[in-house]
């Protein structure tokens, strides 16, 4: 049995340590964020909810340390691993691995994977339940942070899940610690169905990502081939990509390969592009695709062209075509 003194001592010590826990959570978050080596835009594409360290409420840690059934801690302050936690919410399950990699490769902490839903699925493939990956990391050495010291061995829980899994977790949160028998059968059924649907959605989302990545890869590859012909040092990614997107349907329709585009480039086109760096269109690598399309589809191109038509005239002119407004 716990006596009141033991509990109050625990509370005092826990409250006193809260700033360190918070600082540790922030440190772990920043460490992982930097370890991803992403641009701001790429990071925003990966992590969908801002990561804020959360220190456990005193009430709930007391409940967990002294009153929860089936748990017994000899040194709750050190044994409880979710005093501070951070959560990374991503788009699809494949992206969870990106965060995991940084956690696993860090030399400054030891880690344990405390919850792996994949394992749970492997054991009970017919159950659809809470899915989230939980890691606990503990610093190997004391770390000085913001004038405090994070004592070696301080735990921080890291949750990684998808938006869909997060929605499920939020929805089912109130029932998480209840025994199955305490939840209505109908409710359990709905929760299981939601998770089953989540898995399907995740698969579809992943397919979408794969296709988008494939297209992005094609774009990137083609642009680097074009940049070998001329450096296009001042190009605007935004303008270039929007023109490319405008032309994509036509490139697909005629099954135009990157090779065909590159092979059709002639020296005089490069000379003319070099001479026209005062014009925005000629600063974009995509202008070389336009030469190809004008050459082969000079009447169809203006039908789909979304930019000002006049910009095309120099290309028509270079290729010896009379340009009709």
């Amino acid at each position: 049995m716990n006596n009141r003194d033991e509990v109050s001592r625990f509370i005092m010590e826990y409250e006193a340590n809260k700033p360190q826990y918070y600082a540790w959570g922030k440190y772990v978050r920043n460490y992982i964020t930097e370890g991803l080596h992403l641009s701001r835009q790429e990071y925003q594409q990966l992590v969908k909810i801002p990561v804020e360290p959360r220190v456990k409420d005193t009430d709930s840690i007391v409940e967990k340390a002294f009153y929860r059934q089936g748990k017994h801690y000899t040194d709750p302050l050190r044994q409880i691993t979710d005093k501070v936690g951070i959560r990374f919410v991503v788009m699809v399950t494949d992206q969870i691995k990106i965060i995991e990699k940084v956690i696993r490769e860090s030399p400054i902490w030891t880690y344990s994977k405390d919850q792996d839903y994949q394992e749970a699925i492997d054991k009970k493939p017919d159950v659809f339940a809470y899915q989230s990956v939980h890691y606990v990391v503990k610093n190997k050495e004391d770390i000085p942070v913001e004038g405090m010291t994070i004592e070696a061995g301080t735990a921080c829980e890291i949750q990684i899940r998808t938006l869909e899994q997060h929605a499920y977790a939020e929805l089912s949160h109130d029932y998480f610690y209840k025994n199955d028998g305490q939840i209505l059968t109908g409710l359990r059924r709905y929760l299981a169905r939601s998770m089953a649907l989540n898995e399907t959605t995740d698969e579809l989302f992943s397919k979408v990502y794969d296709m988008m990545n494939e297209e992005k890869q094609e774009y990137t590859d083609l642009m680097s081939m074009l940049k070998e012909k001329y450096p296009f040092e001042d190009y605007s990614e935004k303008l270039n990509k929007s023109i490319y997107d405008n032309l994509l349907a036509m490139l697909k329709k005629y099954n135009v390969s990157s090779r065909e585009i590159v092979d059709s480039i002639q020296d005089y086109m490069i000379e003319n592009i070099a001479e026209r760096q005062d014009l925005a269109l000629f600063r974009q690598p995509v202008v070389l695709i336009l030469y190809y399309l004008v050459k082969h589809h000079r009447r169809e191109l203006p039908d789909i062209w979304e930019q000002p038509k006049g910009e095309l005239e120099l290309i028509y002119s270079d290729l010896g075509f009379s340009f009709a407004d």
Partner: protein, 354 residues
């Protein structure tokens, strides 16, 4: 046509002025500019695109035959210039000579004051030399008396940058010979653009420019080329147009284009624009015409070689044939497909016998 006007570059221009005659027998000496100029980027690009617009594929230019190669001809002046070091002085001298020849050719009081722009440059992927003479009539409000070289240049800049202003008449010569070698007549191609040619202008009105001045004439194979145009277009319609109603419509359009339309010239691109829907179909047609060797600029219309029966004969897949008089085809017969492989023909007239 091959890429005569690919990569066209203007290097220098010389601008002079010629005057309306008071007495048709007395030539008023042109006002010569004492220097030639490189245009600024904007004006140069504008001039380049204007020339390609006038002469490039799909344009209304004509490939011409060189007739006059005498000592005082435009041809000889240009070829001689190509044989020099092409210095500014040589270019200016040649441009003055051409301007004088034009003033000489304008031997009537109907010709207004005009600006003459002589252009030298290169064209084609391998930078062949070209020279062009542009005659543009002077717009109202341009003060001729006070104009000097700089004012003329800024006037030409404005002229070029105002799209509405047409370049009235242009003659253009390309040297296909390797630079430095002797240039023979067959090495030079000549082209004509005239913003006034069309149904209402008779050849004689333009003759002073292309014939008296430039020493050019129409090629003699207009009948062959017109016939080739007809055959290639017919073939395209029969082989590439899927819908039968559309095929019949285009066959009618082709006959109208050749026989009813009063234009003196025919042009693949004009036919496509006039009768076809959507860029994709036009591209397929123009490509087919290029592959058949049909020039992609104007062709002087001469239908004398086209075999033209008095009837059109429509064939159907089960050996049924329908013969319709060519005149008023559209008024007498309508042909439609019902989508199930049957054709519905409506004949305006009673059945007689067989």
């Amino acid at each position: 046509m091959a890429g005569e006007f690919i990569n066209l570059k203007v290097k220098k221009v010389a601008i002079h002025k010629i005057f309306k005659r008071e007495d048709k027998k007395i030539l008023i000496p042109p006002e010569y500019n004492s220097q030639c100029s490189s245009l600024d980027n904007e004006a140069r690009r504008a001039l380049e695109t204007r020339i390609t617009r006038a002469f490039g594929n799909d344009s209304h230019s004509l490939k011409m035959k060189i007739e006059d190669t005498s000592e005082d001809s435009v041809y000889r002046n240009i070829v001689d210039f190509w044989g020099t070091d092409q210095s500014d002085a040589a270019f200016l001298e040649m441009s003055r000579q051409l301007t004088f020849l034009l003033a000489q050719a304008q031997n009537s009081r109907i010709y207004q004051d005009a600006i003459v722009v002589i252009v030298k440059g290169t064209t084609k992927a391998y930078n062949a030399d070209f020279a062009a003479v542009i005659k543009a009539e002077i717009q109202d409000g341009f003060n001729i008396v006070e104009s000097d070289g700089e004012q003329l240049l800024s006037y030409v800049n404005n002229l070029l940058l105002t799209r509405q202003q047409k370049l009235h008449k242009i003659g253009l010569f390309i040297n296909n010979q390797v630079r430095g070698r002797e240039i023979r007549q067959q090495d030079v191609d000549a082209f004509l653009f005239d913003s006034n040619t069309g149904e209402s202008i008779s050849d004689s009105k333009a003759e002073y420019f292309y014939k008296s001045f430039l020493g050019l004439d129409f090629r003699e194979d207009a009948d062959v080329i017109t016939n080739n145009f007809y055959i290639a277009t017919k073939k395209y319609i029969n082989e590439c147009v899927k819908e039968s109603a559309e095929r019949i419509r285009l066959q009618t359009a082709l006959r109208n284009y050749l026989y009813i339309n009063k234009d003196m010239y025919i042009n693949s691109s004009q036919f496509a624009e006039g009768y076809m829907e959507g860029g994709e179909a036009k591209d397929v047609y123009l490509k087919a015409m290029e592959e058949a060797g049909i020039p992609s600029t104007d062709i002087r219309k001469d239908v004398s070689m086209i075999k033209r029966g008095k009837t059109r004969s429509l064939s159907f897949e089960n050996s049924v044939k329908l013969t319709v008089p060519i005149e008023k085809f559209e008024e007498m017969v309508t042909v439609e497909e019902d989508g199930d492989g049957d054709t519905i023909i409506r004949i305006k007239g009673k059945y007689l016998d067989e």
